[in-house]
Amino acid sequence: MASTFTRMIAGRYPAALLASLGAGTVAGGLLLSDSALFAEGKRSLYPPSADFPDLRKHSNCMAAALTPAIYARLRDQVTPQNWTLDQCIQTGVDNPGHPFIKTVGAVAGDEETYEVFAELFDPIIKDRHNGYDPRTMKHPTDLDASKITNGVFDEKYVLSSRVRTGRSIRGLSLPPACSRSERREVERVVVTALAGLKGELAGRYYGLGDMTEKEQQQLIDDHFLFDKPVSPLLTCAFMARDWPDARGIWHNHEKNFLIWVNEEDHTRVISMEKGGNMKRVFERFCTGLKQVEQLIHERGWEFMWNERLGYILTCPSNLGTGLRAGVHVRLPILSKDTRFSKILENLRLQKRGTGGVDTAATGDTFDISNNDRLGKSEVELVQQLVDGVNYLIDCEKKLEKGQDIKVPFPVAQFKKY
């Protein structure tokens, strides 16, 4: 392992430690470089008010939270890796809104972002995660899949089941900020770890730049291949730089456990299969995650995590569990019922088209998944999804028989741990 990185981990641990203790701000200094004098002059020529973005047409979480006063206090701060507020919010400035979803409008460049710029990110997190307050609350992590009950769905309705999350490697900058060597190190660390997986998890890595045409076609046919981001939400956040350098896809030979390297997060981990056995999908998910974590520990690496924010990922919307558990489910009658949206809302579920986040549903088949990410554990969220989908199927069956259905009571918000 490159010694450069070992030294860096040692240097960064205090920062992560401070963060996990809930300290107010990590000591991010002012810009330290030869051009400090020039920067000083610039700062007096252009006070923060001169640089404050025009957000009048914007409707994302960042635009709702950022005030001129907050901007003035944070504009000249930097994380230990010299990442700035302007870089965090660039994507939100460049993308005023989205037709289907309220976007977040800010990204993290490194673990310390969430501390140094807490004054902006805390209200964004509260807004996005149902009032979760990082200053006072703790996030529970629970990857014990044995706790899931009723996790096998009626396959007459559920066509496929999937769970995904992300993991970041502590000590390396996140996709908006990482340099080429950091990104390559992420790839090396992850690919080395994955090579240690055995049994039903044994698999193979395909670097995006190196794969043969045949391999590429196979990955497309399997619906595994991810492409260079075209969404301006990602490109304006600098995540497509140097494409396809150090990007790739790993999957096990069984093709039901898949890892994306260096796309929108350091890693995206996906467990999926056809049919309705969500319990087995989640079991494989948890086992795989734990084994990967063990394998990187053996080499002195760890995932970014703290007890306030759970797993640290690029987009604040994925903090906590980073978990989206979902199914493709046929609900031909229920989906036409006027109460459908309300039922989903109360079950804390969201619907998407079967093409994913930026698509509308076609026909009777929907992607139904959990809304929440932070403040509830993985087990809680998957159980919530399981209970919710079972409820939806039950409604569909009732409507098939001409019986009436009920809108369920809203599911409780997170408990305070």
Binding site: A2, S33, D34, S35, Y46, A50, D51, T84, S181, D242
Partner: protein, 380 residues
């Protein structure tokens, strides 16, 4: 606050670990950049914080272009061309026909030095246009500038343009604030520029904060047009229907010099030096930054075997009528000067005028099924 370069942190990694993978690339930057050059330059930054990685990012992200050999790098400020000369000088030499670091560039905006140009046959020459760019001294360039800087550039530009009178009296339309009616009119006039979609520009950071502080100014007669904060601080365009390039160039020079006077009064002249001429964002536009051209009907000549060679000898280039990234439609081509650096504005427009005149004469010969072999010019 200038965009942060993240550079001090990156210096902890080795040059080898950071060097980009350019194995599939075909642009000027990829041909010139070696590990040695990269290692020499990666520790440097301009006073405003622009680094070699910033310079090359667009070239790393865009391996090649189907129609043209792209440059693959941009400047973030005036000092970029000094601090990173070890990379940019060879690129400039490559792109500008062997221009040397010791060469001097001549500026000549005296329109009276242009000979002819008022007699291009309007049956063939449909429209004439001259454009250039200008950067305002004391500000960083579009890949790097902050919102505060960009807004100040806009403010200064509006003030300068408001002083123009007579044939140059006009109006400014900020992109973020025009009415639907104004927008439709600008589209119909073919004046409106839109948020860049070309990844050559977006990967260089030029579309940040769109449409903040961007706008279009044009005179009432709609023959003189200025774009503010698109790919350069200012793009200045003179154009009209028909073949009177002389008039177009007169208006171009006159208007430019008037605008420059006003900026100088505010102690913000244009970026210029005697080696590189006018300093612009893309190295391809150094020197005059001038592209003077016509839309001309050459259906027969364009299919002649020697068309490419003729253009090369005349130091002209062809584009489609949609601009740089398009193919020609109906035998109508956009013909313009290929050179920017090492010859003056008058020289370059003269080449367009003389070259187009010759090509129209050739077209007429070919219409009569006569040979043009004795008309093929020598290499200029």
């Amino acid at each position: 606050m200038a965009k942060n370069c993240h550079n001090d942190y990156k210096m902890k990694f080795s040059g080898d670990e950071e060097f980009p993978d350019l194995s599939l690339h075909n642009n000027h930057m990829a041909k010139v950049l070696t590990k040695d050059i990269y290692n020499k330059l990666r520790g440097k930054s301009t006073p405003s914080g622009f680094t070699v990685d910033d310079i090359i990012q667009t070239g790393v992200d865009n391996p090649g272009h189907p129609f043209i050999m792209t440059v693959g790098c941009v400047a973030g400020d005036e000092e970029s061309y000094e601090v990173f000369k070890d990379l940019l000088d060879p690129i400039i030499s490559d792109r500008h026909s062997g221009y040397k670091p010791t060469d001097k560039h001549r500026t000549d905006l005296n329109f009276e030095n242009l000979k002819g140009g008022d007699d291009l046959d309007p049956a063939y020459v449909l429209s004439s246009r001259v454009r250039t760019g200008r950067s305002i001294k004391g500000f960083t360039l579009p890949p790097h500038n902050s919102r505060g800087e960009r807004r100040t550039i806009e403010k200064l530009s509006i003030e300068a343009l408001a002083t123009l009178s007579g044939e140059f009296k006009g109006k400014y339309f900020p992109l973020n604030g025009m009415t639907d009616q104004e927008q439709d009119q600008l589209i119909n006039d073919h004046f409106l520029f839109d948020k860049p979609v070309s990844t050559l520009l977006t990967c260089a950071g030029m579309a940040r904060d769109w449409p903040d502080a961007r706008g279009i100014w044009h005179n009432d007669a709609k023959t003189f047009l200025v774009w503010v904060n698109e790919e350069d601080h200012l793009r200045v365009i003179s154009m009209q229907q028909g073949g009177n390039m002389k008039e177009v160039f007169r208006r171009f020079c006159t208007g430019l010099l008037k605008i420059e006077e006003t900026f100088k009064k505010h102690n913000h002249g244009f970026m210029w030096n005697e080696h590189l001429g006018y300093v612009l964002t893309c190295p391809s536009n150094l020197g005059t930054g001038l592209r003077g051209g016509v839309h001309v009907k050459l259906p027969k000549l364009s299919t002649h075997a020697k068309f490419g060679e003729i253009l090369g000898r005349l130091r002209l280039q062809k584009r489609g009528t949609g601009g740089v990234d398009t193919a020609s439609v109906g035998g109508v081509f956009d013909i313009s000067n290929a050179d920017r650096l090492g010859s003056s504005e008058v020289d370059q427009v003269q080449m367009v005028v003389d070259g187009v005149k010759l090509m129209v004469a050739m077209e007429k010969k070919l219409e009569k099924s006569e040979s043009i072999d004795d008309m093929i010019p020598a290499q200029k």
